[in-house]
Every structure is written in structure tokens, then in C-alpha cells.
Symmetry: C2
Subunit: 386 residues, 2 copies
């Protein structure tokens, strides 16, 4: 198996793109990544997307995006794992290069959610949960996360206020990210005044729906220097699953698939949580930030919110998270979020994160979650040569 | 890169399964394949599916099927490439094993089309074409194929009758396949009396929508004997793409992605069309059979129908096709068809094809097509030890 490195990154701003279709968004990100990697062709394209069939009446994005991006004829497929689609696509691209089936590979995550004639997006998102046992009863993702958050507050005697800093931190970082959907800082008071979404979740606990695309170009590590002076090695990649239904889990407050994929990733990279310099986690809701930090070894159970309260998740803290705004402020174009996280981690490891730069970052971890934790994909990237 | 072999196969009957949901169909095929391979666990699951989100309100099939099949926690993703989804999933499973990321892998194609409240299936299938330039005008797959078939008849001065034997052959083979949806032979006269679907396509040119699932277990060739005395080596795997829109192609009568993927597959296997003992092609419509045979080197351009007329596609002919009934008679559960083809090829190469056995078959080719030729996946399998 060969080592794989990232040699190019690209992204569109996250927001409401009324003037661009799915294919245009994917093209913009892909073309930027190819320019960044100084490549004019690739051997294969992996597209991460969740909802194009439901919302845009367009399946078959592999061939569509390949053709529209000037890559007609190449191998191209779409990968879907709910909101973890893009990181899953990235992992399959890695397999393509590692196996020798392909040499230079493009991965793009793309989602268009706001051009939603007929309000299909809520039903579409609910399709990530169990259609026969969850969504048929009207359960949506905000309500599932609300159940989990309420249980957490009860079990660990944590107040709503304890979650504030997850949102405040994300917005503070988003304010300095020109590609973020919500480029403004918020105060703890603003967080507490947020309108109800699904009690106890209020406005500033929840990430916004958005349009966007983010792309990555990868190749064997041994060839990376031919393309880029700033290549970033993929030190670990792992994907694990859990039950789709929250009620099927032994403990709804434990993200088993996060723990499993993180354990595998730490083994592959030869590091532990103490060596991770920043963590792009999947803060679809603030409760998910707490649970991710706990499952991945950054906090004891029930102590995830304390990390936020103590400011340890800030850029200069013990474990900076959501360094470019996270899902909360950068925005959450669901099937694209996984590649946004990887692009942002590469920015950090190249020292190109601007005002949000984490000092001397060497190891970056990303974690993309599908559903309420049923698919979790963890990657560790590094600028360390070996 | 390590060689990969198939050590287990399983399938459900193809038909209208009112009593089984998506997850039950997938489980039935998967459990049969695991029993066949004598394995009780696998490292990863690749699910091929096209329409579960649109028709069943259920995305996220990787985690769902893994959990329901007793494989909770393993790596699992869904792959979509329109009607080529299952063969694309199989190819990604190959990459997983070849790369060393995984050792024993399951691939299942599954589709449930007939439990279609609200007639979403025609719109869902149309999402494989270009939403902005084809389906928005009301174009469906029968009508696209009708345009291509009419052009073929005009260009090569071929009559409707010339296509009859594709259907007659498929039905003759389907009559002996206990898993086929349409287990009855038809005559040329029956073919000619078929009601209009989209002129010149009539009933017996078109494959039926269906429910079904087919699964395959693979592992490194060097380990295959531990699991199966009848393992089948995957000698070649290739995926190529073309424009989604038929009107964007230089020549609508040439399946460029079939030619490209077949050329790569022949190279990998070290054989040519003359060595292929049978060919499980993608006869969604009879015209596709003619175009596949031509693009893959079995007939000159415009001569595909002649192969049928001369009986060369029969079980004892020069190039037997659709040996278990093909899409036409076995049925076409779109996102599962690719693994049905592979399962049927393995049956032939093991000598387990019953009354449909092709004598002394050593090399079998399968070809799964997405859209009207935008994604084409070609595999070559063999029982030859090296």
C-alpha cells in the first residue's frame, strides 16, 4: 500500500448560490484544486453528495461533474454516507491511489440545499435516519439531537449555557474565514437569546443549511513533490459505523463510531490525542461537539462542555476546533462538509489559515459524521515528512 | 496491488417483493453470499443502490444494511452511478482489498422499485440523465433509447425485426433461471406483437422494473482457497464515463465508455474478445445489446443485430449473452443489476448455471451501464488459476 498526499485544495464560498447549479459549484471547487496542484488532468473523480437526487432531480454526479469539469471519459463515481459523504469519498479516493488503480485523483464534495422548490430538504435530510423506525414518526435531525442534548444535560447536570462557547468559538473563527457563510462573531448573550428550534436546541446550537463545494487532489506521497512544494500527507484514514436509529444504541451519549474510527486513526498515525494540534469536528449541533471530543479522547465523559467553557477549544487552546468556523459558522452543505474540513486542515498545515492560524500545527484531525453518528470518518493529516 | 477473487455469491429472486423492505432484500442476498463463502464477518461493505432516497425516503444504506445484517460497526458506504451502481460498488470493493485497506469485503447491490407510492420511479430513473438539458424537457429513458434505436435503424437500414432475437434469447434463458422475474420463453411473433412503449421501442425491447438484491464476497486471491474450493479470480476491472446527455456525443450510436472500459479490461486480463466465453451485457433495451457488442469488439459497427439474427448470442453461439435472462427476463432492479451480472458470471465459471450452462466457460465478461452510456463498468472473471 502506498502513502498518499494532498497536493491541491479548492473551495467555493459557502452560502446561498442562487446563480450556480450543482455542476457549477463542483466545477469551481475542482478547477481551483487542480490549479492549486498544477495538474490539468486526473485519473479518477470521487464525488461526495447526499441530496442531489431528492432536491435537484439529478443523480449520476460522477459522470456529470467529470464531463462538466473537462474530464470527460475518466473514471468517476458518487459516494453517499449521509452528511459523511465527502469524507467517505475522500477515503475511497485514497484507496484508489493506495491500491495503484489510480495515480492522481480528485475528490469533490458538493451540495445544493437552498434552491429547494417544494421544501424537500427536511425530508431529504431525514432520510439519513431510519425511514422505518425514526423518520416515519416525524423525527427530524434537530429533534433527534435535541433528545440527545437533553439527556446529556440531565445525565451530567450540565446547563444550556455550558454549550455556548462551542457556538461562540465557531462564530469567532468564521468571522475571519472569507468562505464562511456566517462571518460574524456572536456573544454568549446572543447565543442564549437564540430562538427555539427543538428544545433544548436553539438557533445558535444548529448549523445552517447551505450550498457549496470543496475539492482535494491527491497522489502517491513519493510523487507529491513533483506537483506541490507544500504537500500534506494523509497519516490515517478510518471509517466506522453504528446503528442508524439512536434508540438502538446502548448509550445515546456515546459515539461508538467516533471512538472506533479515532482509535484506528491514532494507531495508523502513531500518535494520540495529545499530539493532535487541531480538530475539525462535525458540529452540526453543539451537542455533537461535546460527544466527539469525549469519544476521541480529548475529554472524559461528561466533560466535553467543560473544554469549551475553559476556552480550550480556541485557536490557542489545548485542542482548537472548528478553526475556520466549523459547520456552525462556515455552514453545512451536507455532502460537501467532509471535504471542507480536509481543505481547512490543509490550510492550517500549510500555514495558510490567515488570522485563524494555529501556531506550529503539525498534526490535524478531521471528523465527518453521517446521521446522528451512524457513519463516522476520521482522518489525520500532517506536514511532518515522516 | 494484490489480485482479488470472489469466494461467495448470493441473490434474491427478482420480482415484486411486497413483503420485503430494502434492508430485508439486502440482508437476504448478503447472508446467502456469506454462507456461500463460509464467512461470518467481513471488514467492509459496499452497497450499490440508485433510488432508495427518492422512492423509500432512505439514504445512508451503508450503515443501515451493515447493522441489519449483523455487521454493526464495520466500514460501510453506498456507491451510486445510476444503473451502474452495483458494478461501481464492486469495483470499489476490489480497490479496498487490492489496496490492503481491507481483507474480506462484501458488496451488495439492492433496489426496491415496485413499492412506489406516488409514481416516483419514472422521475427517479430520469435523474440518471441530465436534469438541466434532458429530463427537464420530459425525456425519459425509454424515449432516449427510442431515439437511439430509430437512428440505428435508419443509419444501418435495420428493421425492427432484427432486434427480436435479443429478446427471444433473453427470455429463453430466463425461463430456466429460478431467480428470474419473467420465467417464460417468447417467440419472435410475440416480440413483434408487443405494445408500443416509445416508438420504435415496444414491450419486449424493454427490461422490467423490479425489486431485488445480489451480493458477492471477495478476498485476496492468495487467501481464496481458505474460504472456497471454487473461487473465481477477477482478471480485470475498468470504469469509464461519457457525457450524460446523448446530444453531447459525437455519435449517439457509439458507446465510447464501453469501448474504453472494455479496452482497459482486455489489457488487464491479457485476452481479447475472441477469448471471452460469455458476456453478461446490459440489455436495458435491445438497442443497448447491439451497441455493447459493437463497442466491445464482438461485431463491426451496424452488425450487432446480425449476431442476434444468426443465433450467435445463444448459449452455444459465438458469444453467449444474458445467459440467465439478462435485464430483459431476469429483471432490472437498477442499482442491483451490476452484482446480478457478476453473480451469474460466477455461476457459469463454477459450472453451476444449470440448464443455461455455457460449456467449458473459462472467461466471462460483465458490463453494467449507467444512464444511456455515461458510466460503463466492465469486469472480466475467470476460473483460470493464472
Amino acid at each position: 500500500m502506498r502513502d498518499v498526499s494532498i497536493i491541491g485544495i479548492g473551495q467555493t464560498p459557502v452560502g446561498e448560490h442562487w446563480d450556480k447549479s450543482l455542476r457549477h459549484l463542483a466545477y469551481d471547487a475542482l478547477a481551483a484544486a487542480m490549479r492549486d496542484a498544477s495538474v490539468t488532468k486526473v485519473d479518477a473523480l470521487y464525488v461526495g453528495n447526499m441530496l442531489s437526487g431528492e432536491i435537484s432531480g439529478q443523480a449520476h454526479l460522477g459522470a456529470l461533474v467529470a464531463d462538466f469539469a473537462g474530464l470527460r471519459g475518466i473514471e468517476a463515481v458518487k459516494v453517499e454516507a449521509a452528511c459523511a459523504s465527502a469524507a467517505a469519498a475522500f477515503r475511497l479516493g485514497l484507496m484508489g491511489v493506495a491500491s495503484g488503480f489510480q495515480t492522481v485523483v480528485a475528490v469533490v464534495g458538493v451540495e445544493k440545499m437552498t434552491d429547494d422548490v417544494g421544501s424537500k430538504v427536511t425530508a431529504g435530510l431525514a432520510s439519513a435516519s431510519d425511514a422505518d423506525y425514526e423518520s416515519i414518526h416525524g423525527v427530524t435531525f434537530p429533534s433527534l439531537n435535541a433528545l440527545i442534548m437533553r439527556r446529556y444535560m440531565h445525565e451530567y447536570q450540565v446547563t444550556k449555557e455550558a454549550f455556548a462557547n462551542f457556538s461562540v468559538n465557531a462564530h469567532a473563527n468564521g468571522a475571519n474565514n472569507p468562505n464562511a457563510m456566517l462571518q460574524r462573531a456572536i456573544s454568549k448573550e446572543t447565543f442564549m437569546r437564540g430562538g427555539a428550534v427543538a428544545d433544548p436546541i436553539t438557533l445558535f446550537d444548529a448549523s445552517p443549511m447551505a450550498d457549496g463545494a470543496a475539492a482535494v487532489i491527491i497522489c502517491p506521497t513519493e510523487m507529491a513533490a513533483e506537483f506541490s512544494a507544500q504537500s500534506i500527507r494523509v497519516a490515517a484514514s478510518a471509517l466506522a459505523t453504528d446503528t442508524l436509529s439512536v434508540h438502538d444504541r446502548k448509550d445515546p451519549l456515546w459515539l461508538q463510531a467516533a471512538a472506533d474510527s479515532a482509535r484506528l486513526a491514532y494507531q495508523q498515525a502513531g500518535i494520540g490525542p495529545a499530539e493532535v494540534d487541531f480538530f475539525e469536528l462535525h458540529d452540526a449541533f453543539t451537542i455533537m461537539s461535546a460527544l466527539s471530543l469525549e469519544a476521541c479522547g480529548f475529554a472524559e465523559r461528561g466533560q466535553g462542555t467543560r473544554l469549551a467553557e475553559e476556552g480550550q477549544i480556541a485557536l490557542n487552546g489545548q485542542i482548537p476546533i472548528c478553526t475556520q468556523g466549523g459547520l456552525k459558522a462556515r455552514g453545512h452543505p451536507v455532502g460537501a462538509t467532509g471535504t471542507y474540513q480536509i481543505v481547512e486542515a490543509v490550510q492550517q498545515l500549510r500555514g495558510q489559515a490567515g488570522k485563524n492560524q494555529v501556531a506550529e500545527a503539525v498534526w490535524g484531525m478531521t471528523q465527518n459524521i453521517g446521521g446522528s453518528g451512524a457513519t463516522i470518518v476520521t482522518h489525520i493529516l500532517t506536514n511532518d515528512a515522516e
